[in-house]
Symmetry: C2
Subunit: 435 residues, 2 copies
């Protein structure tokens, strides 16, 4: 049996359903929307991630005997509500941005149409997934552009919760990273995995040379040898002596990389290992990656900064009721009025407006009806779930690959300002349009 995801939920989602069932309003047709009020400080764009993963988690959002027993024992909800939860499965529809799509402030990333109760109960899970995964993808995407085409590997599993690590590997790959250290991300999501050895391996042996020899024996000369356990020039010399001209790469995980990379390149070239690559892995983020652009580094391994969203570990998305039917069956747009948290009511139809050259000029959100046909742009919403059934194009390995392509395509539409690392305004403005 697949593990239930139903208790990965805030208690208030269930007490709201309990009160609504008692009041007879739980079945009111409703529209919920997930969006971010702003991008993380100074970012020019965000990258949507988590959608495909979320759709699979929603399919497992069922209250089994064990979940119901916990709720009963803790008197979380009434018996009537327990009965309703026992029969729960999501039967509504979900529309939204494709995974990998770029987003801006107030982009309506996910729109859930269902009864109030069916939609509200998914709030916590939807936000957990979108907030974490999009935080990682948004940070990772900046690192990828900063690397100017050199490959990046995600190696941050140890710097985030053990299951978040899998999500982070997936999100970074969608954002353009080439591989991950995380094996579960390889199994579950088809992300290419990589990695050879840590300092502990070198120290297991009586000498660095013995360690290198053991590694080359097992993994071949094309492996990556970690050369900074003791002394880098000595490590490089030993690595080349042991592995020969076929040595795949050396890895540097400490020191002043700006100067070290160049000196190691010279040393490798001097030893005849002109094809041996240099990979660096020491507390990198988008800024240090950019700073290394002028060095002969060949690839990057990124840990903490990517799995923690490089300073913004949650994307700041919220999930709001934007419309519902009243007792009379008429739709009512609803909006919260509290000062800094006002929301825009009504069903949205977002379009990325493009100029004649195909460059994005605005994120235009048509409210209440779709954009007129004359508008030059790309409609951003697609159907993700119909009557409770997810479109398989978004699921599994296939969904991940599609998302990775989507991110690459969406980035090509962005104006050059989007790729500045310095803090600033979103690359295009978000505009509301009434049709």
């Amino acid at each position: 049996m697949t593990e239930s995801t139903a208790l990965l939920t805030d208690r208030y989602e269930l007490t709201m359903i309990d009160a609504a069932i008692r009041a007879g309003t739980h079945d009111r047709p409703s529209v919920f929307e997930a969006f971010g009020r702003s991008l993380p400080a100074g970012r020019r764009y965000g990258v949507v991630a988590g959608t495909g993963r979320l759709l699979e988690l929603i399919a497992d959002f069922r209250f089994g005997d064990a979940e119901l027993e916990f709720l009963r024992q803790n008197r979380v909800v009434s018996d009537a509500t327990l009965d309703w939860l026992a029969g729960y499965r999501f039967t509504g529809s979900i529309t939204g941005y494709r995974e990998g799509e770029v987003y801006f402030p107030n982009s309506p990333i996910l729109v859930v149409e269902s009864s109030f109760a069916e939609g509200v109960v998914l709030e916590t899970l939807i936000l957990s997934v979108l907030n974490y995964d999009s935080s990682v993808a948004s940070a990772a995407s900046r690192m990828v552009t900063a690397a100017l085409g050199r490959p990046l590997a995600e190696m941050g599993s140890r710097r985030t919760g053990e299951h978040s690590a899998v999500a982070a590997a997936r999100a970074a790959y969608i954002a353009g990273f080439g591989a991950t250290s995380n094996l579960e991300a390889g199994r579950t999501w088809g992300v290419p995995t990589m990695g050879t050895a840590a300092h502990a391996f070198t120290m297991l042996f009586d000498s660095e040379e013995e360690a290198f020899r053991a590694q080359v024996d097992a993994l071949g000369a094309s492996t990556t040898l970690l050369v900074d356990t003791y002394d880098v020039p000595h490590g490089v010399e030993t690595a080349v002596r042991v592995a020969g001209p076929e040595l795949g790469a050396v890895r540097l995980d400490s020191g002043d990389l700006l100067t070290l990379v160049s000196s190691v390149r010279r040393q490798l070239d001097g030893l005849g290992n002109t094809a041996t690559k240099i990979t660096v892995t020491n507390d990198l983020d988008e800024y240090t990656i950019a700073a290394l652009a002028a060095t002969p580094v060949d690839s990057f391994g990124v840990g903490t900064s990517v799995v923690t969203g490089s300073g913004s570990p949650a994307a700041g998305m919220v999930y709001k009721l934007v419309a519902r039917q009243g007792a009379d069956g008429d739709w009512v747009s609803v909006a919260k009025k509290s000062p800094e948290k006002a929301t825009h009511g009504g069903r949205k139809h977002p379009v990325r407006l493009l100029d004649a050259s195909g460059t994005a000029v605005s994120e235009t959100i048509y409210v209440g009806a779709a954009a007129p046909a004359v508008v030059r742009g790309r409609a951003l919403h697609t159907t993700l779930v119909t009557d409770g059934v997810a479109d398989p194009a978004h699921l599994g390995h296939r969904g991940v690959e599609a998302a990775r392509e989507r991110r690459a395509t969406a980035l090509r539409e962005l104006p050059p300002e989007a790729f500045r690392l310095a803090a600033g305004e979103p690359a295009v403005p978000t505009v509301y349009a009434e049709v």
Copy 2:
């Protein structure tokens, strides 16, 4: 069947074992240590969390057919290593700080004694758990002291990965929070759960009054009503009118809380609801909690900042080989020499030295042998796992409660400087002592 945790692992852990098996060194008795080189910027102390959770994950660290098949198909390791992995279970010993204990730079939080291969393969999982959970607990502990005895609830599930949310709720509870919104944390770890309703519930109804009435009907007058969906004074008036003098609390989730809390208190008192409490939940962290100390707020709900470690989402712990036997059976202390990452070799025996009044004066780490009996202090290491079997005192709900008590006890030993929120030095120095 319990889900295997064995692929929540960096690929290089397995390739190192592969090379070590081939070289015949994988069985060398070894000592690994988990520690943080520093506390997150400016913190005065950290709180160890995740230990009990980790011990349960280690018990599930087994390579089943599905895991082995993935490794085989992807040629991660040789057939000999696959055979070794198939038989893997951790049979070594783990010593460490009790969960909930306070820690400082270089505190040897976890010591793993086993063969090289048995110990190295746990690196990623150990660090994922300790880094995330300790990050949350360390931040949460500061919020608890800033709240000056007023209760806090953890409500950040939506701001971190869906499984990290459960770990965060557990870690915050260990650090002194009183409850969580997260139902799975209630089920799995026995953390008290709480929550009543969100803005969406109010907007589901045709009026705020109808919503409040529905909530009181279902949850009783002692419930907490969210009063800031439209207009706070109007919301408070409606809440009191609907629920009467028994109204449990009102919740404020927006606005300038510094002034709002006082005006809502006056309004409640003026309406005769002197026993109705005020809870606030708007983007709080340790600093805003401290700033609200002078207001008549009764309790706090904290989201993003606690589940993301309030600016330090990973505690920065590392896991290093510190000693191993050589081919001759002699123990060798090993240490990495790279510039900013030097480690102290050898088996550690940490003691919190106390002055005559029982106040901590140093984190003294005896290297190579235990502290002399004359030392006034508290030995910090306890046995967590013996020959592969975890001490049940650290597991499940019982382990969580013990950790929560441990944190409270450990904090009472700290000098007053430890509770300053401003950035500064660790509350006590870490000192190495040779016996």
